[in-house]
Symmetry: C2
Subunit: 80 residues, 2 copies
C-alpha cells in the first residue's frame, strides 16, 4: 500500500513561497490568479496490508514527524 | 475554482530528502516503511469559472513554471 500525504500551511500562516509563485505566474502573463499556497507532498510505501492499520500508522507518522501541527494541516489517502 | 497540484520526482531521480524522512520514521520505531518520496503540493486559487479553460491554464503553469519536467512529473485536480 502507499500513503499519499498532503501537508499544507494553516489558514492565517504567512506563506512567502506561495506569494512568490503567485507573483511569478503573474509575471509570466497568467491572469486571474488568486491566493497561492505551497505545501509538501509525501508518498510513503508501506508493507502493511491492512488498510485500517496503515491509516492509523500514517496518522501517527504525520503527528510525530511529518507535519508541524502548530502551523500545518495534513491529509492523506491510502491507495493500492 | 482552485487547482490542487502535486509535483513529484520522476522514478529514477534520487530523492535524498525522501530517504532522510524514511530513516527518521524508522528511527521513531515505525516498521514496514518502503520507499519514501517527497514532492511539492501547490494550491492556486483561480478566478476562471470555466473548468476546461482552468485546466488548460494550470497545465501551462505546470509546464512553464511549477514543474521541472526533465526530472519531475505533475498532476492536478480542479476543485470548487
Amino acid at each position: 500500500m502507499k500513503a499519499q500525504i498532503k501537508i499544507t500551511l494553516k489558514n492565517g500562516v504567512l506563506d512567502p513561497q506561495g506569494k512568490a509563485i503567485g507573483h511569478a505566474l503573474e509575471g509570466l502573463g497568467f491572469s486571474g490568479i488568486g491566493d497561492v499556497r505551497q505545501g509538501k507532498y509525501i508518498e510513503v510505501a508501506l508493507t502493511e496490508t491492512d488498510e485500517a492499520k496503515a491509516r492509523e500508522a500514517v496518522e501517527r507518522m504525520c503527528k510525530d514527524l511529518l507535519a508541524n501541527t502548530v502551523i500545518e494541516n495534513y491529509s492523506f489517502e491510502i491507495v493500492g
